[in-house]
């Protein structure tokens, strides 16, 4: 597959790994946070850690929109489907997230709720057109990558005059999350979590451009390198971060030049701005309330807002006391530091957000990297 296979070449990877090894200075550590869940997944799936020197540490950030979706919002989605109120359309990723009362969207579906798994926002619109007598709610999640398609279907719904289609909006924003992490006491004051640089998300950046990250680099004096989705992209970005840190620079660099420009996708951005506006605050699972970090539907499109049509009230539900997701999402702890990791909390029975999606730090480690926790003799 073009533009995929070439970026997964193992030979080239070893070459870049060699350079990282040469340029990473012994005696100092390089603590790099990759924010995007896709990067977390790539690092685990391709075993990139195996190729890095011991003093380059990858910290997994909260870049998984499924993982940071609070329990209370899933409860809301389940309530919408309950009692036949509405057909709830959702991306497959959210189906297994555990909510209150031992339920999940998948379990609610098994009990008869009309919950439908879709691949694209356009499918939700189509379902609404095919079922004019039923209310159809699109459970919209995702970062800036996934938001423009939601904006498009809302506008299309208006153009079609659809009266039975609404969106339950849970879109969240990347820069706010990064700020929140950098503002956390462990990072800012206590210095207990060394966070030297960031690998910027790939596809979010194709939409928002590289410009929004210039603020962090400046304000917090940390380098950011936007990396493409493939393992070679990630390795090259790590090399670029190591170089910046060695040279004492704190700039925004773009490794993903084939798809990211400074401005991003202007058309997508303006469509989003037409339909959505910032919420003052939004709860992120594991992080608490994060200011100006999420979107809601503007008044002009109120007719398509599920929260308004169904009078949804949000009730915050705390995570299990044993769950260390909050600390793990901020990079303060590792999955193996959590008491319930791999014992009570597994991908089959996830307790917290980090285990729920295949890119959560805990799920990725459990699925791909767990064997490294124990010495294994290979014949």
């Amino acid at each position: 597959m073009k533009y995929i296979d070439e970026f997964r070449d193992g030979e080239v990877a070893r070459g870049i790994a060699r350079r990282i090894g040469e340029e990473a200075r012994p005696g100092r550590s390089y603590n790099l946070m990759e924010f995007c869940g896709g990067h977390t997944h790539a690092i685990s799936r391709y075993g990139i850690k195996d190729l890095l020197p011991g003093n380059v540490n990858m910290i997994h950030g909260p870049g998984c929109p499924v993982c940071v979706l609070p329990i209370g919002r899933i409860d809301n989605a389940i309530e919408l489907a309950a009692g036949n109120k509405a057909i709830v359309c959702t991306y497959a990723d959210t189906m297994r997230v555990p909510a209150s009362g031992g339920l999940s969207l998948m379990k609610a579906k098994a009990r008869g709720a009309d919950i439908r798994m879709i691949y694209s926002a356009a499918d939700a619109l189509r379902i609404a057109q095919e079922n004019p007598a039923r209310e159809v709610v699109f459970f919209a999640i995702g970062f800036e990558t996934t938001t423009p398609p939601t904006a498009i279907v809302i506008r299309q719904a208006r153009a079609l005059g659809l009266e039975n289609f609404t969106v339950f909006c849970n879109h969240v924003l990347t820069p706010s999350a990064i700020t929140h992490i950098l503002e956390s006491p462990e990072v800012r004051e206590l210095g207990t979590v060394p966070l030297d640089g960031f690998i910027g998300p790939a596809h979010v950046s194709t939409v928002i451009g590289s410009q929004p990250y210039e603020y962090f680099a400046e304000e917090y004096q940390r380098p950011v390198v936007i990396a493409g989705f493939e393992p070679l992209d990630v390795m090259q970005a790590i090399l670029m971060l190591v170089r910046q840190l060695n040279e004492g620079r704190a700039e925004v660099e773009n490794e993903f030049t084939r798809a990211v420009t400074r401005e991003g996708n202007e058309k997508a951005k303006s469509l989003v701005a037409e339909v959505f506006e910032l919420r003052k605050s939004f709860e992120w699972r594991g992080l608490g309330e994060v200011p100006y970090s999420a979107l809601r539907i503007k008044d002009a499109y109120a007719g398509f807002d599920a929260e308004r049509r169904f009078g949804i009230t949000y009730r915050s539900v705390p995570d299990n006391k044993a769950c260390e997701c909050g600390a793990i999402l901020r990079g303060v702890k590792k999955p193996t530091d959590c008491k319930v990791f791999g014992t009570v909390c597994t991908p089959e029975n996830p307790i917290g957000s980090c285990m729920v999606s295949s890119e959560g730090a805990c799920a990725a480690h459990y699925t791909y990297g767990r064997f490294k926790d124990v010495p294994v003799k290979v014949a």
């Binding site: 070459g15 991306y91 691949y119 423009p148």
Partner: protein, 81 residues
Amino acid sequence: MCLAIPARVLELLPNDEGLIDVGGVRKRISLELVTGVVPGDYVIVHVGYALQRLDPDEAARTLALFAEAGAAGDGASTAVA
């Protein structure tokens, strides 16, 4: 997050849609978020929508950077903005 994949545009279809191809698998997707895309172009596709056109020159440049980084060199840094 944001599972997105580079795909080749095979043909433009009405209503701002396009037929794309990835490794022989074809799908109809929306081109509403991109402009000036023509058959033969590559786009990044996410949840059924093309998000951005992929720049083949930049892709080639990036691959060359990888190779250069990998080659035994003088350790000189190459900043890419």
